[in-house]
Amino acid sequence: MHSADLISLAPFIVLILGGLTVLALGIWPQHVSTRTLATVSAMFLLLGAATTVLWETPQTVNNMLIIDNLGRLFAQFFMFGAVAIIILSFNYAPTKNEVREEYLSLILFATLGMTLLVTSHNLVTAFVGLEILAVPLFALVAWKPTRSGAIEGGVKYAILAGFAAAFFLYGITIAYASTGTLNLAALGSITTDNYLLIVAATLILVGVGFKLALVPFHMWAPDIYQAAPAPITALFASIAKVAVLVFLIRLLCLQLQNIWEALLPLLGILAVVTMIVGNLLALYQQNLKRLLAYSSIAHLGYILVALSAGNSLGRDAAIYYALTYALMNLCIFAVVAAFSRPDQDRQNLEEYRGLGRRHPTLGIAIGICLLALAGLPPTAGFIAKLLAFGAAIKAGYLILAVIAVINTALSFYYYLRILIVFYGEKSTKQDVIHLSQGTLSIVIISSLLIIGLGIFPGWILDLIETL
């Protein structure tokens, strides 16, 4: 352990300290207001993001962590994302008075888990990171257990996540059994045709596929998205998923490239099934949160199309897609959170009728966001799809791209359905909706970023290419 390592570890230390500080403040003899707690935890997150700037890249810490630009980009992204989640939660009515030190420290710990995941240079690190991400989520899904469906969602997620983690772990152990090492670089340097390593990677893919909600590992997603409070759903659908995705990208595209090539057909099959099933399930879904869950499943299918291209363009496309995907989902779930009723989220799509019209600022943001999800130019969603499908075409998988394009066309149907409802005329009674500045600013910032990344994708693409 050198002093340079300390700099590399600084963001992790800041996050842990942040979690402890918030917990300590929570049990302080004098009452500390929730606003203070939230501010403190957001400060720690921003401080963590700031310390990543100090990183000297690339280097490894004890061969356990790899500190590089990819890790930095996403570590910062997660920390800003977590700040957004905290702001959303702070203004979220259904868990009012329950967002206290436990909640905030769990979010900080989950962010730590995500950061560990994207900087892991060892399969054990990845496993521990995955679990540090997962265990807080068990509780966060069931936050305020008296909400309807909260406990059921928590139980389901805990059991199924454990189930998938068992596959993940089993894959790790088989990788270890076949090679005698857990280090990613060492695993990547194995050039001989190691059959068991492929099996191990497949099992790891099952575990990762569960977190990414790929079909057929997807079935938990709608239930959990529905059960969780909207800010936590946003956490699930955006940064938590992207953390796992970036780990997958690092594992396959950067470290185990032999395995990546071997897995291409499987990735292709998963991509096709995921796209089709996700879109079909979303088609007539009436519950907005479930619908968005299915739509996010379909989006992972598109990302897999990029990954199954097997070239560097596909990798870059997947990274770009991951960023835009997270932004889009953050934005849309922030909208769901903003429009929540005092006791729970609006579930049925019809309950959102006319809301975009009544709140024009949010309405425009929703429009942008849905168009981006549908992949229409000039939003970032269009560029992301273009790059992803272009990568598949470049690799010669025209049929994959064709299926993806057809699916994109299909997805227009339900995105427009949402859009129409949001802009529809409200016929029945108007309930009062109090929109907080914080939530509003998150929606606006993320939709501006979506448009900005679509019109000027250059600056982020240049960055990605240098990773």
């Binding site: 257990p145 406990i151 059921e152 189930f163 790790i172 270890y176 059994a177 239930d223």
Partner: protein, 107 residues
């Protein structure tokens, strides 16, 4: 001398058995037990492989596994208990409030 393959196959058997328990039993507690069996299959693989390669990584991995399992199980058990407290539910069949609403015809 036990060949590594035998240990691995026993571990695979434990893993599959745990899986089967989860798939077949409806009681939440049994399902969690099945989860433990699955994790132990993985642990056996790690230990056996660690001996085969003669390094400590396998055992360290197993220790982390135990820690993680304990943490996960603690939260999962609390949730199961909550389910019992609130709904007097011990079986997974009764936890089906969250699902696709298929009553209504699609528009």
């Amino acid at each position: 001398m036990i060949p590594l393959t035998h240990s691995l196959i026993i571990a695979a058997l434990l893993f599959s058995l745990g899986l089967l328990i989860i798939l077949l039993r409806r009681e939440l507690l049994f399902i969690l037990m099945g989860l433990e069996v699955m994790f132990n299959g993985a642990a056996l693989t790690a230990v056996a492989a660690g001996q085969y390669w003669n390094n400590a990584d396998g055992q360290v991995l197993t220790i982390f596994l135990m820690v993680v399992t304990a943490a996960e199980l603690a939260v999962a058990l609390i949730l199961v208990w909550l389910a019992y407290e609130h709904f007097k539910v011990t079986q997974i069949d009764m936890l089906t409030q969250l699902k696709d609403d298929t009553r209504g015809e699609p528009p």
